[in-house]
């Protein structure tokens, strides 16, 4: 039900991102979605990939500071108001969003949103009760 997201600590220095992407390429890791939260001195690179455990091991052996976080992926209609429907459900169920990021699918009419909320179980239940598609890890990894 939950998706494993890689969270990587990255110093704000030239070449850091490129060395991570190089490592991912070498290990044949396919990126599904990403976002970066940045501060003045460092950022946290969040990645959804096809094989999070393999990516975690590769990054750890290269001395990166990396951890896995459980997040939720939902599928919404790629039309005006599609995201609002999901946000409204969270609001009405009093679930706060820590952060989120979205990507569109190869099929035209669906967009996906990665959600990090304070209570994953509660969010999943709320989405399902309102007929919003919650993706399994298999859906994401094999996308």
């Amino acid at each position: 039900m939950f998706i494993k997201q890689l969270s990587i600590f990255v110093e704000n220095k030239p070449g850091r991102l490129s060395s991570i992407t190089e490592l991912l390429e070498k290990n044949n890791i396919d990126i599904r979605a990403l976002s970066i939260a940045d501060t003045r001195d460092f950022g946290i690179l969040r990645l959804i990939v096809n094989d999070p455990d393999k990516a975690l091991n590769a990054l750890k052996s290269a001395d990166y500071s990396v951890t896995l976080t459980n997040v939720i992926a939902i599928g919404i209609e790629d039309t005006p108001g599609g995201l609002h429907k999901a946000m409204d459900i969270l609001y009405k169920n009093n679930i706060s969003v820590e952060y989120m990021y979205a990507f569109i699918s190869k099929s035209k009419d669906t967009a996906y949103v990665i959600l990090r909320v304070e209570n994953n179980d509660k969010a999943v239940t709320a989405m399902e009760e309102n007929n919003i598609q919650v993706l399994t890890s298999k859906d994401i990894y094999e996308m």
Partner: protein, 435 residues
């Protein structure tokens, strides 16, 4: 149950010790006056003659020796014996200026071995032990000093020296090392590397370590003891006096016993040079009273310490010095405030979840000193949200500022971003000196 290497000296009565010191001091002063022109001139200028020094109480009549004197007489100007009697020289690393050279006669090497043997014995070491020495061998006194001490107690010496940490760990494991000597920062690095190699403290046989050559904190001691499963003993020394073994810790771990039958300690006010009573903090000064080749008198170490004469549960009567708070050379003055890197380390380790790898970067921007503390992010600190990490940064900043009394910028860096050291850890980069 305490074991001593030399019970009659380590447990002498105060009267016995003072009589011995007085005798040895007066002999040494006479010898130095006769054989070292530099000292003769210094004593003459100071208006003191060898016959004025009859007992320990007369010590304060002598002028101080400072590092600059050693540089001025580089390389052999302070040697008190002909070079044919010198069997060994060592040199200081010269991190704060020109290097200095020290020399040893065969008797000096024996004295040194004796001092190191006392330290190893106090750490529980003996002939049944395998002693792994990861100090550098060479001009640095650490490696050979501990090596000779370990041979003296009859231990099986493993002269691993520095470098190739993974191989060192294989040796530790395969050779069955029971004791180790290195810098405390290298001990932590060994522990970290062991973990990376998938080994735990149960895979090695170490029971104790004797660590020195750089300042370290109680928190760091606990971390080493915990990670390597050993008891960690402190040892102190400086090549100008003899090398490691000037003082050493016993099982009580409340200060280091000074081998005062060889080196008379004093604590002085670093500003006025006035001798301070036992128990007060000041600069540590040593006079060598048995050394033949390089007998320094009233040498100012720049180390800030306290002398303690209270009875020790180990039975030794040798005076104790509290762990130096830092070298006054290491002391930084930032915006007028005295800062020791060890204070920062103490704060970091007390917070619990930070890594012990840090570096202080001091700079001057628009005529104002700035302090940045770089700390490697630990697995415990990492989070997927910026907010969590920033809260931890703020907690470190608050703790550091309340300890140091000045503001510091905390900058988290990636693991291994701070260079590992196999000798003394580089804790400070002072960019102000480059201008």
């Amino acid at each position: 149950m305490s074991e001593y290497w030399n019970e009659s000296m380590e447990c002498a009565t105060p009267y016995e010790m003072e009589s011995l010191q007085s005798f040895r001091l007066s002999q040494t002063v006479r010898r130095v006056y006769e054989n070292v022109p530099y000292y003769r001139q210094k004593m003459d200028e100071h208006g003191v003659k060898p016959e004025d020094i009859r007992s320990v109480k007369d010590l304060s009549k002598l002028p101080f020796t400072i590092k600059q004197d050693l540089r001025d007489t580089y390389p052999y100007g302070l040697f008190a014996v002909p070079m044919e009697d010198v069997v060994r020289v060592h040199a200081s690393s010269g991190t704060t200026g020109k290097q200095i050279v020290v020399g040893y006669t065969q008797n000096d090497v024996d004295t040194w071995s004796e001092c190191a043997a006392r330290a190893i014995t106090a750490a529980g070491g003996g002939k049944h032990d395998f002693m792994h020495i990861s100090y550098g061998y060479g001009l640095f006194t650490g490696g050979l000093g501990m090596h000779y001490g370990a041979e003296k107690v009859g231990a099986t010496v493993i002269p691993a020296s520095v470098g190739n940490t993974k191989r060192q760990i294989t040796i530790l494991k395969d050779f069955g090392s029971t004791l180790i000597c290195c810098t405390p920062s290298y001990a932590l690095f060994l522990a970290e590397t062991m973990q990376e190699m998938g080994l735990t403290k149960d895979d090695i046989k170490l029971k104790a370590g004797v660590f020195g050559a750089e300042p370290w904190t109680e928190e760091m001691r606990r971390e080493i003891e915990d990670k390597l499963g050993i008891k960690a003993y402190d040892i102190y020394g400086l090549s100008e006096i003899i090398g490691p073994g000037v003082s050493f810790e016993c099982e009580e771990q409340t200060g280091m016993h000074i081998n005062e039958d060889h080196f008379i300690p004093e604590i002085i006010d670093p500003d006025t040079g006035e001798v301070l009573p036992d128990g007060e903090e000041g600069e540590l000064v040593f006079s060598c009273i048995t050394k033949e080749a390089f007998p320094l008198l009233r040498y100012r170490t720049r180390d800030i310490a306290v002398l303690k004469r209270e009875k020790c549960s180990c039975g030794r009567t040798l005076v104790k010095m509290l762990k130096p708070r830092g070298r006054s050379d290491d002391m930084l003055i930032i915006r007028g405030v005295n800062v020791f890197p060890s204070q920062v380390e103490s704060v970091l380790l007390s917070l619990g979840n930070t890594s012990p790898y840090y570096q202080l970067i001091v700079d001057r921007v628009n005529n104002t000193d700035t302090l940045e503390i770089q700390i490697e992010i630990s697995p415990e600190m990492l989070s997927d949200t910026v907010k969590n990490i920033e809260e931890q940064e703020a907690a470190i900043r608050t703790a550091v500022e309340s300890t140091l009394g000045i503001a510091a910028k905390i900058r988290l860096v990636e693991p291994k971003a701070i260079a590992r050291s196999e000798g003394k850890a580089v804790r400070v980069i002072d960019k102000r000196k480059l201008i």
